[in-house]
């Protein structure tokens, strides 16, 4: 009576090897704490973090073809989660490089930044593998709390407290809502594992059914908050704007990837999420996000806010896959979701990389101190093509991919979504997607125009750029080009699981 069916799964070596990447990160955190006690140096800790993540990434490679394996009842590792975690780790590595550029100009040593970054990655790792509401909730919170620490990290910034508080309070509210939802679901089903079977009699008891449906709704709205799906998107642009650029990148990539993967996992496993009411709910959310995200982005001049709004729209597009999900084509669903997420992540990484480069270039030395450029306007991109063509090319690729122009990954991703939607005959969603993408062009294209505009002032000193940055920029150009032309490369990594 006291033990559930899964409780006896012991932790043997085989199972531990499955969550090795997560364990590596966790040990990395513990070691980093010791390292801080031994020697406080900006460079050491940054290198250490990078090494830990690289090792985790390597450890993750062998998991890409793994059969679904349960690790206690909390986690379940399969090839999809491994793929998603690689995306997370890659984004974290890029962000780490950007963070190091951002932090190294300061005298103070920022150990806690790197620790929080690793904690964030750990949270994401738990989320993508979670198979239980408890681990979902813990991953969610680990992600949120570390992000709260990070969004307001630049304490001298005017926006530090504001964005910190906005994120903290809204995210705490959202997680309370989500928890209440989980509690309601649990109170009706008596099991918090994703694999649980929902007793049918729920639907005959009026009061329980009410709580059950409310539970689902609250749960989804909590997740929707994290994914910044309208109408739970309000925080997105503000926090994006206020956070330091590397942190915004983390929010735009890691948090979105992890949350979406866990949402799909949950929906796939718990088929009650496919009932009509829930579908209607998701459809409202998707339509609202596609329209609101695009419309709000329309005349936006602040680059980070623009990306924030566009992320709202993209999550709306992606939600379509969940809505039209059916039991038969699970592997296709996963393929679409992961491919779209990879395209989205690559595009975001590219744009943020350039944004960070511009920010560091535009920062001006005031006496001893480095005045960090916080606000990044669209006009700051003006003439980039004539100054640093490689960076501009990267932005063009990324923006085209986000807009879904052919020969980019974004196009293939949208193609996947649309073909799923047409199979399910979800015409309304398709129409909205098309309208949304149409509006989207009206703000994506001006970004490209701006790159080519002649700049008024050329006084910006051309700092010497670090080699890693060159390496990253060129490799992302190549990745963007190659994956647009040969998208099969990515699809091959997304190995379908025999369920």
């Amino acid at each position: 009576m006291l033990t559930t069916a899964h409780s006896q799964a012991s932790l043997n070596i085989e199972i531990i090897s499955v969550i090795l990447p997560q364990l590596i990160i966790a040990f990395g955190i513990a070691l980093a704490l010791l390292l801080v006690a031994w020697k406080r140096s900006q460079r050491t800790i940054a290198l250490f973090t990078g090494a830990v993540m690289l090792i985790a990434l390597v450890a993750n490679v062998s998991l890409l073809t793994i059969q679904p394996t349960a690790v206690t009842q909390l986690l379940k590792v399969d090839s999809y989660s491994a793929f998603a975690f690689s995306l997370v780790l890659i984004s974290a590595l890029v962000s780490l490089h950007m963070s190091h550029q951002f932090l190294k100009a300061h005298i103070e040593v920022h150990d806690e930044y790197y620790l929080l970054l690793m904690l964030l990655v750990l949270g994401a790792g738990i989320l993508v593998t979670s198979n239980h509401f408890a681990s979902l909730f813990l991953g969610f919170e680990l992600l949120s709390i570390s992000l709260v620490g990070l969004v307001g990290y630049h304490r001298e910034s005017n926006f530090s407290v504001e964005s910190g508080f906005k994120y903290l309070i809204l995210s705490a509210t959202a997680s309370s809502f989500m928890l209440l939802g989980i509690a309601f679901i649990y109170s009706v089903t008596g099991n918090m594992s994703f694999d649980a079977n929902v007793p049918n009699e729920i639907y005959h008891q009026q009061d329980l059914r009410l709580f059950f449906e409310m539970g689902i709704l609250l749960f989804i709205s909590g997740i929707a908050f994290k994914l910044s799906i309208a109408p739970f998107h309000f925080w997105t642009p503000d926090v994006y704007q206020g956070a330091p650029t590397p942190v915004t990148l983390l929010m735009a990539t890691i948090s979105k990837v992890a949350m979406f993967v866990v949402l799909v996992k949950c929906v796939v496993a718990q088929n009650y999420l496919l009932y009509d009411n829930v579908q209607l709910l998701l459809m409202i959310l998707a339509v609202a996000s596609m329209l609101m995200g695009n419309i709000l982005a329309l005349k936006q001049q602040n680059l980070k806010r623009l990306i924030g709004y566009s992320s709202i729209a993209h999550m709306g597009y992606l939600l379509i896959v969940v809505i039209v999900l059916s039991g038969e084509s699970l592997s296709f669903t996963w393929q679409s979701v992961l491919f779209y997420l990879s395209a989205y992540v690559v595009a975001n990484l590219s744009i943020f990389m350039v944004m960070a480069a511009i920010q560091s270039q535009c920062s001006s030395k005031v006496g001893q101190l480095l005045q960090y450029k916080e606000e990044l306007l669209l006009s700051d991109l003006r003439g980039l093509f004539w100054r640093i063509p490689s960076h501009a090319l990267l932005v063009i690729l990324a923006v085209l991919s986000l807009a879904g122009i052919p020969l980019t990954m974004g196009f293939i991703g949208k193609f996947y979504i649309l073909s799923q939607a047409t199979i399910a005959h979800a015409w309304w969603l398709i129409v909205t997607l098309v309208i949304g993408s149409g509006i989207g062009l009206a703000y994506y294209l001006p970004i490209i125009f701006t790159l080519f505009e002649k700049e008024d002032c050329t006084e910006l000193q051309a700092n010497k750029r670090p080699i890693i940055e060159h390496f990253l920029v060129y490799s992302f150009i190549i990745i963007g080009l190659l994956l647009g032309i040969f998208p099969d490369v990515v699809s091959q990594f997304i190995v379908s699981n025999p369920m």
Binding site: L74, E108, E112, L119, L138, G139, G149, H154, L370
Partner: protein
């Protein structure tokens, strides 16, 4: 037996009412410290509810950790940094008897309940039958939920680090 069940029920509803009223006082209050104390009352009432629902371990934790530790953190913060200042200025000055009476009534209701529960053997017996023991919770925590506990420790670490970063004094002569 029936009467006893009815008693447990009514005790639960009483504690629930206390919790609701105290929570209302928390969100409507104007004096920070008063609101915090009402929050303690609310938490204690909820602890009684837990006890009546057959979760004595959770009830204990609610009192010790929640009311005892977390709220004390609040109180410390308020007192040490003078956070409640701007609110106390606007607080009503009148310490009317009715005001105190309300608070005392809530506390008294809880006290009454506790004595009734502890002294009534039959209630104890019924509760014993339904209890989910702390042993079971422990087995769960260190069995299937072992990873969750580990993750929770990382969660606390994250909270600690974030809190440390925000609260530490600014370094002189350095941006950031």
């Amino acid at each position: 037996m029936l009467t006893d069940l009815a008693t447990i029920d009514s005790l639960f509803y009483l504690a629930a009412t206390v919790a609701v009223i105290a929570s209302l006082k928390v969100v409507t209050g104007s004096n920070t410290v008063h609101a915090l104390l009402y929050l303690v009352v609310s938490l204690l009432a909820v602890a009684v509810c837990f006890y009546l629902m057959g979760a004595p371990f959770a009830a204990g934790l609610e009192v010790i950790v929640y009311a005892g530790a977390i709220l004390v953190l609040f109180v410390f913060a308020v007192l040490m940094f003078g956070l409640g200042k701007d609110e106390t200025i606007n607080a009503p000055k009148s310490k009317s008897v009715a005001n105190m009476f309300g608070a005392m009534l809530l506390a008294f209701a809880l006290l009454l309940e506790l004595t009734v529960i502890i002294n009534n053997a039959q209630i104890q017996q019924t509760l014993q039958a339904n209890v989910v023991s702390s042993k079971a919770v422990g087995i769960m925590l260190y069995g299937p939920y072992l990873l969750a506990v580990e993750i929770a420790s990382f969660l606390l670490l994250a909270g600690l680090l974030a809190g440390y970063h925000y609260a530490k004094p600014d370094v002189q002569g350095s941006q950031l």
